[in-house]
Symmetry: C2
Subunit: 489 residues, 2 copies
């Protein structure tokens, strides 16, 4: 693919200047459209060492209001960054609606660099490429414009540039060992780049190879491509996208109505006894997973008043407070709503050795957001797969994922609502919204059944906690957590 640049025909000086001016002005106009239509634009600059990524980003952003874009660079992962899944730091830097994000190299560089210097095993490479494909597709599916540039220069040109940089005291530091290595192994590196283009090329986010020998000419290619990509995206903004079929192995599940609730209870005595022994066991396991650096994600969903809060408390009571965090999830704030719906969860993921407990989760997308119309039908229908992919990423990163649905029947909910209403200390727990949601019980039940059926993957299955007797549900939750942790310890 790198020979593609041979097909590009550089215009004459005067024509180049005129076209450049036109494109610069066009980008100035398009930035306002981007803002007006709330489109997020992610522009990736990759390329050979010394191909001029930073300089060209500098040229491009001249045409954009500084309040509408951000630039990010990535270096070798810090020790801290190594404790998060591969995609974590990249997902964290996606732009918000109406703004640009320019990346001075990113996930491509990390993966190809690893392949070049041999620190990334072929199967790890393949895993990362799968992650990247899903990541980019999920962004474009969610309305992100993703534009990927690769700045190409020849072996000779690269050598010339590196030599020139090293000649001056002021610029010497810019030449890294890796740059030299790359130049010496140019053909081998070119093959790795080309393999990567093939691996990650898809119509919604294609690769654009830019002839980067001349700065002006490179800028023209980039601006023409960007403007065209943005215009297309604006035209297609309201189009629905295909809903990917599920590709992940699913566990067998049951409909909520078929799950018996009666008889699922414990006496106070049984409860105390099991609680003590399970909590002691969990305390010990937490210590071990902390030292073995395993990240754990516990996700709670359930009917209002099903007993999520008390259930979570029985888990956290046995955990070292320095090693876990509880995330209560409410409706998204403006800066969260302005990004991919998973962004606010990606940024809350635990590092290795830590436990993150979510009180409500990313499944809001296929429950409340679906039923209240907070997202389009295309959005929530696509979300089952997006969520399965998300959890796959976490699982592949070594995380244990435990998902609980806390289940009660409609009468039990009514009794608890009434109790909350009548007890002064509990009144904060009940709102008009709870009553409104209750009226939609049947619609919710249908949505929940679909959710459980479609997202019970074998690596992150749903567990039902029968919670008419809260004691029973707490012990069941503790048992499952203990069991799942034992599997990995």
């Amino acid at each position: 693919m790198l020979e593609n640049v041979n097909y590009l025909i550089r215009p004459e000086k005067e024509e180049e200047r005129a076209r450049l001016k036109a494109e610069q002005e066009k980008l100035g106009v398009l930035q306002m459209k981007i803002k007006e239509h709330n489109v997020p634009v992610l522009v990736l600059f990759e390329g050979w060492g010394s191909s001029g990524k930073g300089t060209l980003i500098g040229e491009v952003i001249h045409n954009i209001d500084p309040r509408f874009f951000k630039v990010a660079t990535f270096t070798d992962r810090t020790e801290e960054e190594k404790r998060y899944p591969f995609l974590h730091r990249y997902f964290a830097t996606i732009p918000e609606a109406g703004k640009f994000r320019f990346l001075d190299s990113g996930w491509m560089d990390e993966v190809t660099r690893g392949a070049m210097n041999g620190t990334l095993e072929p199967d790890e490479y393949k895993k990362h490429v799968d992650s990247i494909r899903r990541f980019e597709r999920s962004l474009t599916d969610n309305g992100y414009v993703v534009i990927k540039f690769f700045l190409h220069i020849s072996e000779k040109e690269q050598k010339k540039r590196l030599d020139a940089l090293e000649d001056s005291k002021d610029t010497k530091w810019r030449v890294s060992k890796f740059d030299r290595f790359q130049n010496k192994n140019y053909d081998k590196c070119a093959k790795i780049y080309e393999q990567y283009f093939e691996d990650t090329f898809f119509p919604a986010a294609p690769w654009y190879i830019i002839d980067a020998k001349s700065k002006k000419w490179a800028e023209l290619q980039i601006l023409e491509t960007m403007n065209q990509a943005i215009e297309t995206a604006l035209q297609n903004a309201s189009l629905s996208v295909p809903i990917p079929q599920n590709m992940f192995p699913l566990a067998k599940t049951e409909k909520l109505a078929d799950i018996p609730l009666e008889g699922k209870e414990l006496t106070e005595e049984e409860y105390r006894e099991k609680l003590d022994s399970l909590q002691a066991e969990l305390r010990e396991l937490h210590n071990r997973l902390y030292r073995k650096r395993i990240p754990v994600i516990i996700a709670y969903e359930g009917w209002d008043a099903a007993g999520k809060g008390g259930n979570i408390k029985r888990i956290t009571e046995s955990l070292d407070p320095r090693g876990y965090e509880v995330h209560p999830i409410a409706s998204p704030e403006p800066h969260e709503k302005a990004r991919h719906f998973l962004w606010r969860f990606w940024t809350r993921m635990p590092k290795t050795g830590h436990i993150a407990i979510f009180d409500r989760t990313w499944y809001g997308r296929v429950m409340v957001e679906r039923l209240e119309g907070f997202c389009s039908e295309n959005d929530w229908k696509r979300a089952y797969n997006e969520i399965n992919e998300f959890e796959k990423e976490l699982h592949d990163g070594g995380a244990v994922i435990i998902k609980f649905w806390v289940q009660i029947d409609k009468d039990t909910q009514l009794a608890r609502f009434t109790d909350r209403q009548n007890t002064p200390e509990k009144q904060w727990k009940i709102t008009d919204e709870d009553w409104r949601n209750r009226e939609k019980w049947d619609l919710y039940e249908e949505a929940i059944n679909e959710m459980i059926a479609k997202t019970s993957t074998v690596y992150a299955p749903w567990h039902i906690l029968e919670s008419v007797d809260k004691k029973y549900a707490r012990i069941k939750a503790l048992s499952i957590v203990v069991e799942e942790l034992k599997k990995v310890l």
Copy 2:
């Protein structure tokens, strides 16, 4: 002060159990009051190595709903953390309104540890202590409950605990070299702790020395103290606090009305020429400050339509995009409003070698928040000093701070508003709010005059940019930035 524990009289077993139970229940009730009244509570656990901080935090939080608190721990600064001012990571972890934050050691540990092992010079120690005093006072002034515990054990008890930990394979890793060092130099360390207590004791956030020999007894002392502190804080919630006098050297300033605007203009030719040479110079300086790792903060305030955006653009055009970020500041989002008003600025501060440009700033507190009643009179009157302290922290951390007020007269604003209204591409820039603010011009002018007079410290003075001719203002801004950077390079 450590002998204070001698005055504490441990109750008999039975009484202890009864009092403990009562306090646990009380905390359960108080957590709801905290939530209801939107009070943030910061609880600091400091103490000797192996004094049981983690365990005791674990006991205390048993009584709190896991959704209402978070626990944080700090370790030695990572390379990344070293690139921010001393208070940065601590300010970032303050609790939000209605919630608890427990810290398993924090700024005290960092400072005393440095003093103990000799890595912190006495003058650095003094600087940090000043920062801490201001930090804690600013929190309590802003309605934070700050409770500081020190868990005290004797030299003998500490030795016994360390030996016991080292005896078991499973707990051996918990004993650090520093723990042993501390035990061997117990008296010297005790002196350093006592000095720190004296240095950082003040009525709104006093130190509580806890006798930590027995876990139950320590828990009782902690709960009684916490509950009492919270109750007092709830009673005092609506009280105003004293407004500290300015302690920082101020630069001489003028009232806006006394600053001539006529004649402050440039021809297109002069402008082009100066723009080119200043931008070239700034480009070069940015490179040098990146390598010398100096952080730079450029703050823009000014009348609506004064020309902030275009002015910022002329600065950023000459900067390497990988080394700066522009932060447009709008009204705070819910999670920002729930914290100290400076939190959202602290968390946006640049690391060493980077430039952060703020399009509107923390001065909103003494302009729009003052005039629209978004905060109390006591709040904005206190803010001048809080802001001076904030900028002092940044300055002491090595940052260059450049503050611009972009100045125009009322007629110029009217002309620009009208132009925006009549030009389709500019209409997004003008809102009803702009017109409403314009009606309050005189009130704003008074507030701005007060702001400039009170916050033009010698380390962070205001610069007025006369912007009736935008070209003039841009060149003046560039000249000032270049000049200020030259001073430090």
